[in-house]
């Protein structure tokens, strides 16, 4: 029994060898707070009638009174309000908000909802995915526009391809004679059909591949440097 206790003590000592020296307790990370008391029916929303999204007619002009009324409905200023007026998705008077990703908004501002970078009461755009960095398209401005980027890329790549064509037409090489292979070259052993492939036969043990074949790539007879006749 004492051996078991000793073993436990030894294990504790061994395990404590690589414990990091934490000057701060880990419980700092796991602080627990009480949940806020929410009034009843606070999370429930009930819109009816005119509070819902209503369709708009294209021919119907937007008078200043109607504009102010719809802007108030969506908690916007009248000068900021532009309706979608889309019959396909029945988004008649829903406001057309700037289609910017949440990443475009200031990360250091004290948003009410920092995850979505939105304040309470702010109207929500139709494309909800843009409120999340992972699901939304990154609309942050870049140094160059798309058209400029395409032009820069093509103005670099097309001349490069032309230069590659020229390089293939006028290749670089050092003057030399063609290679003289030995009698037995492993490349001659290449398989020509799959029916001959035997899983259990190692290469080199097959007598067929041990035949020596004479190979001549060139002779010295016709060369301008001269040489003995074959």
């Amino acid at each position: 029994m004492s051996m078991l206790r000793g073993g436990h003590a030894l294990m504790k000592r061994v395990l404590s060898l690589s414990k990091p020296d934490r000057h701060v307790s880990l419980s700092v990370i796991f602080r627990r707070y009480g949940s806020d008391e929410v009034p009843p029916n606070y999370d429930m929303v009930h819109h009816d009638g005119k509070n819902q999204v209503q369709p708009l007619e294209l021919d119907e002009p937007l008078t200043p009174e109607k504009r102010a009324e719809l802007a108030a409905k969506y908690n916007l200023r009248p000068e900021d309000y532009v309706p979608m007026n889309d019959k396909w998705m029945t988004l008649g008077d829903y406001p057309k908000l700037p289609e910017e990703n949440c990443l475009e908004k200031d990360p250091y501002y004290d948003w009410d909802d920092p995850a979505l970078r939105r304040n309470w009461g702010e109207p929500i755009m139709f494309d909800m995915d843009q409120y999340n960095a992972l699901t939304g398209v990154d609309t942050r401005p870049q140094i160059f526009t798309r058209g400029q980027m395409w032009k820069i890329l093509l103005s670099f790549v097309v001349p490069c391809l032309f230069l590659f064509y020229l390089g293939a037409k006028y290749p670089s090489f050092l003057p030399r004679a063609p290679k003289q292979y030995p009698e037995y070259y492993p490349g001659d052993e290449k398989r020509e059909s799959y029916n001959d492939y035997d899983f259990f036969v190692k290469r080199g043990l097959n007598a067929q591949y041990r035949e020596r074949k004479e190979v001549t790539n060139y002779t010295f007879a016709n060369s301008p440097w001269g040489g003995p006749l074959p």
């Binding site: 061994v14 395990l15 060898l17 690589s18 414990k19 990091p20 934490r22 880990l26 990370i29 990443l103 960095a133 992972l134 790549v157 490069c160 391809l161 230069l163 590659f164 020229l166 390089g167 293939a168 006028y170 290749p171 670089s172 090489f173 050092l174 030399r176 290449k190 398989r191 020509e192 799959y194 899983f199 190692k202």
Partner: protein
């Protein structure tokens, strides 16, 4: 013997589930055990061995492993580099909460990589291919609460998935053409074009070639050990490794296309790295450039030479990343090199390692990168080759030297830059064994493996003006970086203080007077050596070292210089 690799890693993973904390004693034991095994592998004969894993399902008779030259060498490399990085990550993540899970993920990644490298069957290679992609996703997004990291990991998945699409089509065509899924079951016929085309998609996505490159700089959102293991040495070279295996059955048109893409990648990566200010992004673009070089080399047909360069690149690139991690820790997680300055004062070993690795990358003679880079350059002179691709190689190598020198100037430079002073990371109690291993390999592995294994590569006999091209590359690259820093050099304040400041009196400034007396001592005649004054000066030289650590550093530097002399 072969099964011990997998068995050992399974044991280590098993230990995680028993013991909550990971303790380095067991890990060091396994690390050295596997290092010895890997050395044993290098001595064995390189024949293909077939192992059957299971009985009766589709492809059951085709799930085979091969331990040929490429597999054995790369497994040894993976264990040495991976082990160094794991011991580095224990130090790097000392204050991190989930460090044991991180090491578990890295072990899983290494298992998948081993499977990819040693498999003879394309099906198992697919398992490894997908597995390294998934582990890359999990490791890049390690700090998942950071939206940039989550986006970058998803971006890596998107680009790798494009490659997987190509890989799957490649498998389909291979099955259609030959009925077998082996890496050597191809020959030149009408299908080889489609095979080559679809595997080319896989390769250019995995190895971040020109149009599929943007995931690699974004992947620097992950921790530094991840960048060091995955995105410099092992995962991104999976595509290059596959091409090395499959090149003999490749279509010539696709090889020309790969030459174009490789050349463009090389140039693009090198030029982008020259303008970056984030240290990890510089090294990421450097990796892109070197991968383009490997693909270009393979499109010419130099298989063993590319493999040699792949292995040397793994050593010095991982060393670069790990040194950058030390600086990032010292600068309180700030990665901008404009805020680094006088790093040698604070991190003697890591800055030395960075210096040696950068020299290796540049192709400084007789370091490990020189042997592979010089051979590549020489072998481009001989065969019938696209003239423009040679120009691209020259220009990209020049930019490689330029951005390496720029990085070194920014870090070693004086007080013109630098708001932060680095916190010293090399304290007693921190384990820096990874540094010794990788610096040793960065310096000597090129010569060692060239003499022992890779000397059978064809040699080219060149004229003098062709032979000095690597030195011209270094010269032009260095001068290009000087153009940017001309103003800095003219207004340099290092070593020119108006008063004695103990913080500014680092080894270079304070001991420079001592170094001059050291050399003066050696210039004496033999008669004067016997004088007491000379001995006194020698004793005074060693007396200036205030701690044993500085003395060790001095002897280590001496050892490296002597090592180089022996190689010459």
């Amino acid at each position: 013997m072969m099964y011990l690799f997998f068995f050992g890693f399974l044991l280590v993973i098993f230990y995680f589930f028993i013991f909550k904390n990971f303790f380095s004693v067991f890990f060091k034991f396994f690390f050295f055990f596997f290092v010895l095994l890997s050395l044993f592998f290098l001595c064995e004969n390189f024949e293909t061995k077939h192992f059957f894993l299971s009985q009766s399902f589709f492809l059951s008779n085709q799930l085979t492993f091969t331990f040929d030259f490429f597999s054995c060498f790369f497994l040894g490399l993976l264990i040495i580099v991976g082990g160094s990085i794991l011991s580095y990550s224990i130090w790097y993540f000392k204050e991190e909460i989930g460090s044991s899970y991180f090491i578990m993920y890295m072990m899983f990644f290494m298992t998948f990589m081993m499977m990819l490298v040693s498999s003879h069957s394309l099906f198992l290679m697919m398992v490894g291919w997908e597995g390294v992609g998934v582990m890359s996703y999990m490791l890049i997004g390690w700090w998942m609460g950071r939206s940039d990291a989550s986006m970058s990991s998803l971006q890596a998945i998107y680009y790798n998935r494009l490659g997987d699409f190509g890989f799957i089509f490649f498998l389909v065509f291979a099955l259609y053409g030959s009925g077998l899924l082996y890496i050597d079951s191809f020959y030149h016929n009408y299908i080889s074009f489609f095979l080559s085309f679809f595997i080319m998609l896989g390769i250019i996505a995995k190895s971040s070639q020109f149009l599929f490159h943007s995931w690699l700089p974004s992947a620097m959102e992950g921790p530094t050990p991840v960048s060091s293991l995955l995105h410099s040495s092992t995962m991104v070279v999976a595509g290059v490794f596959l091409l090395i295996r499959l090149l003999e059955g490749f279509n010539i048109l696709i090889m020309e296309l790969l030459m174009v893409l490789g050349g463009l990648t090389m140039l693009f990566g090198a030029v982008c790295a020259f303008g970056q200010n984030d240290i990890k992004k510089i090294i990421a673009f450097s990796t892109t450039s070197q991968l383009g070089l490997m693909i270009l080399n393979l499109s010419i047909g130099n298989i063993y030479l590319t493999f040699f360069h792949l292995c040397m690149h793994a050593f010095f690139k991982s060393m670069l990343f790990m040194g950058s991690g030390v600086f990032i820790h010292g600068a309180q997680n700030n990665q901008d090199i404009r805020n680094f300055g006088n790093v040698f004062f604070f991190t003697k070993m890591s800055s030395l390692g960075m210096f040696v690795s950068s020299m290796s990358l540049m192709g400084m003679p007789f370091l490990c990168g020189y042997f592979s880079k010089d051979l590549i350059l020489e072998n481009t002179w001989g065969p019938l080759l696209n003239r423009f691709s040679w120009f691209l190689f020259f220009i990209a190598s020049t930019f490689t030297v330029a951005y390496s020198c720029r990085m070194l100037f920014m870090m070693y430079g004086g007080s013109n830059f630098g708001v932060y002073k680095l916190v010293c990371q090399e304290k007693f109690g921190n384990n820096f064994s990874w540094f010794l291993v990788l610096t040793f390999f960065s310096v000597s592995s090129g010569w060692f493996f060239y003499e022992s294994l890779f000397k059978v590569i064809q040699e080219e006999y060149l004229f003098f003006y062709y032979k000095i091209t690597p030195f011209l590359v270094i010269f032009f690259g260095f001068s290009l970086s000087l153009l940017v820093f001309l103003k800095f050099f003219l207004t340099m304040k290092t070593g020119k203080t108006l008063y004695y400041n103990p913080l500014m009196h680092n080894m270079f400034t304070f001991y420079s007077k001592v170094f001059s007396s050291f050399f003066w001592f050696f210039e004496l005649l033999w008669v004067e050596v016997l004088c007491v004054i000379g001995l006194q000066k020698m004793v005074n030289f060693f007396g200036y070292f205030k701690s044993f650590f500085d003395l060790q550093v001095f002897f280590f530097m001496l050892l490296i210089i002597l090592d180089l002399c022996f190689m010459v």
